[in-house]
Symmetry: C2
Subunit: 503 residues, 2 copies
């Protein structure tokens, strides 16, 4: 799905929205290291020309201007529209080359047939990068293919980088720059960058993550037809971007396998790249050809590529977001020995199973940990890892004391590399299980910033939401199940091994 | 975790809550078919004696009485307590055998040392079944083991069935009968029955499901030490229970493999049994020994048991609940050919992948379906399964019309056995994607009650919750991801094959 289209016109359903069809081939002959920094003009331009800017509240050119203003874009905005004197109070220019100031980037929202002239104006002006949101190129047949070649030629000669066509393009949450022409909520600043095959999918995912996840964003890219800038180019840029700590990718196909391999291998050694590569099945590949024209990559080959480059491959969107959250919020563990605290025997059992399933080990507690726990547990209790913390609670007679005691013992234990906590609650016995989450977990994280901690709660909806809110505010990954706790820790361990090669 | 304990005393943390330790061996020599109907007295007694009933709002005996009254238990309640004349306005008796009326079931909440006498009174009175919530038996050592043997002997001679000891026991949502002594919300009546290894885990899971899932319950059982009634006995009973359509089981170990195999094989052919068997790993097995004393079953053996009996084995709690929901709300499909409608190209691609992964097929649409869809799609669109319904929306110019058209085409197609729908939304363009979910889906289900439909939405949190509410009210399974849509359909297909052997 894309919401791009013949922009500049009224965004009425069925009229302006058009799916792009083809997304491969005809790439400009560039390799990863040729112009590594060019892409930064598409994320961090000091100034931008908005071609198709509008005061008309029904037009994409209005939405885009509003986004730039609402997000607090820190560069200069030059509306370009032959029919207007001003747009949203800003002086408007008839063409890009009539702007008296320097223009680093341009965004186009006007119909495809006008784009070649805009490209020429941009070349004339010395624009460094252009985001062609406009659709109506190769995806519409012969005429569009010709038009697309024309703009590629002009850009190539002028050394202008292109994102698109046919995409919502770029969003830089740090400086407020964007080419997104659907109204989005203000993105939280953070360390996650996200690359998606289609711009609209990126927008929907962004809204989902903004409203359900605790992490913030650095850069987003939806690449559209990819006539020039592709995933590898964006990865190169994100590698250099100090705000980006973790990179999440949704991708249907790889157009230039060699380039992608080289770039992925280089960058995965520095920053975690979590990747959902769909179109892994025959029918998925066929659907992808219709969707974005991506060429299918054999799944075994892509798997091998991930293993040899160090990409963290995931199986679905839930896992993509789970692992992105873990990488965004957690330190990398020193090893694969997990300490587990669960307020239910069943949670202990299932957590143990999950560790084995994901190739993790249950830490063997030190003597000091064992004696500390044994001292407080009831006499009949067998203390071990996972800790059945309900027994400790019975021993010390208080929920918070039991949690603090267990957490500190485990966090202080040098045999423990990472911690998973499983809380439990019943609304009728809330007083028993009323937990001072913020104080206890803030303290433990302050004392042990080097150990990843993840949490989950088994309870009714209300209590789960209450706990989620608290852990989100603390910046401790909270997952809907203990299996997903362990899966997230396993990804941290896996990447720790990729990066440091030791575990 | 268990919240059972030395009940009758004050439920203060650290004093009365006690974990049971051992849960295997010493079974009464009964086989599945010997007394199949006896267990019904533990779920549907016409009258119950509550030994340890209390007016004291801090005692389990009060909570249990409140539950019986709040749930509207349709039988006679006889409080038993030597120290009281009445409890909650009901006449109270000093002993079970002093009750002048017939007593079919008894529940004990008094300390373990008094239980043998209670058993004798029950035998004297002709009680059919007794739920021993009390803990303090084998899990506490020598004395407890002796005590446990004593009550087993009395029960065996008198032909009384025992649930427990050391459990919250039974909940019958249909007639309001329960032995649960923690306050629970009123359970919705429905077709799901749930068996759990520990009673407290069952209570927490019940609260989770009641507050997050649209289905209702028939029977719940948490079995505790299982000195008599075990999973197989409960399965036998649920097989005969007309209110039970689907059975969900959380189990750590099987004590009598042969009996379980026979019963499972018989019942799985009639009703779907979704089972989460934990303690599948070495360390999980060790944790389970500490938790419920379950003997470990080799995972490959249990897998083989599931395959040959027709149990639907799942990997975690999320899947247990997902599949239970699908079985509770959906008809069984005639085959494995899936029709997919997705308002995002990415959703089409990922749904196709998921079908292949779970062994399903994308239905090949009939000519009539193809021409109906092609007629309304834009000229450039390639119509296929999965349907990129955003294109249909562009073609017909209206969200609801596109959904109705796509759904009807797919549901009418005899090549389609089941349907997965992927909706999409952005809060800023809500008007475009505003969907009349209730009307459209109610209609399609009325017209095609034979085809399972599942749905998911990719959007911000608010819209997802709005959609979930609507689908929940319709009784159409709504999942957090398209992968889980397909996984649920795959389970329906799998069971359809188990039951009818045709697909």
């Amino acid at each position: 799905m894309t919401l791009s289209g013949h922009v500049g016109s009224n965004p009425t359903p069925g009229v302006v929205f058009q799916e792009f069809r083809i997304n491969c081939g005809d790439k400009m002959p560039m390799v990863a290291d040729e112009k590594p920094t060019d892409v930064k003009y598409l994320f961090e331009p000091k100034s931008v020309a908005v071609v198709g800017a509008s005061d008309d509240e029904n037009k994409f050119g209005y939405f885009l201007m509003k986004n730039l203003i609402n997000f607090g874009y820190d560069g200069k905005i030059f509306p370009v529209n032959k029919k207007r004197e001003t747009v949203l109070g800003l002086k408007c220019y008839p063409t890009v080359d009539s702007i008296p100031d320097e223009v680093e980037a341009a965004i186009t929202l006007i119909p495809a047939k006008f784009i070649p002239q805009v490209m020429k104006d941009c070349a004339q002006k010395g624009v460094k990068g252009i985001i062609v949101c406009t659709s109506g190129f190769r995806e519409t047949g012969e005429e569009g293919i010709k038009l697309e070649k024309e703009i590629i030629d002009i850009a190539e000669k002028a050394g202008i980088r292109i994102v698109g066509p046919n995409t919502t393009g770029i969003l830089n949450a740090i400086n407020g720059f964007t080419s997104t022409f659907v109204i989005l909520p203000q993105p939280r600043k953070g360390s996650v960058s996200f690359i998606a095959q289609s711009g609209m999918f990126a927008s929907v995912m962004l809204e989902y993550m903004l409203t359900t996840q605790p992490f913030g964003f650095s850069k987003l890219a939806g690449l559209g037809n990819k006539v020039d800038v592709d995933d590898a180019d964006i990865l190169e840029y994100l590698n250099q971007d100090n705000n980006t700590k973790v990179i999440a990718v949704y991708m249907e196909g790889v157009s230039d396998g060699r380039k992608f391999y080289q770039v992925a291998k280089k960058i995965a050694a520095k920053k975690p790249i979590v990747i959902l590569k769909s179109a892994s099945s025959k029918s998925g590949g066929e659907a992808s050809l219709t969707h974005t024209g991506s060429l299918m990559v054999k799944d075994e080959i892509f798997d091998a590529l991930c293993r040899s480059t160090g990409l963290i491959r995931v199986e679905d969107l839930e896992e993509l977001i789970d692992l992105t959250k873990a990488f965004a919020l957690c330190p990398l563990p020193k090893g694969k020995k997990i300490g587990i605290i669960a307020y239910t025997g069943g949670g202990c059992v299932m957590s143990s199973d999950a560790c084995e399933r994901y190739g993790l080990e249950l830490a063997k507690f030190s003597n000091s940990t064992m004696s500390k726990l044994t001292e407080h547990a009831p006499s009949f209790a067998i203390v071990r890892n996972p800790i059945d913390a309900e027994l400790i609670r019975q021993g010390v007679g208080d929920m918070n004391a039991s949690l603090e005691l267990s957490l500190e013992a485990v966090a202080n234990d040098e045999n423990v590399d990472a911690i998973s906590v499983v809380l439990v609650g019943l609304s009728s016995t809330k007083t028993i299980w009323d937990i001072d989450i913020k104080r206890i977990f803030a303290k433990i994280r302050e004392e042990h910033p080097e150990k990843p901690i993840v949490a989950t709660t088994l309870a009714g909806r209300e209590l789960i939401e209450e706990h989620k809110k608290k852990f989100d505010e603390l910046g401790i990954p909270f997952f809907p199940s203990l299996l997903r706790n362990i899966r997230a820790l396993a990804a941290l361990v896996k990447y720790s091994k990729i990066k440091f090669g030791k575990i």
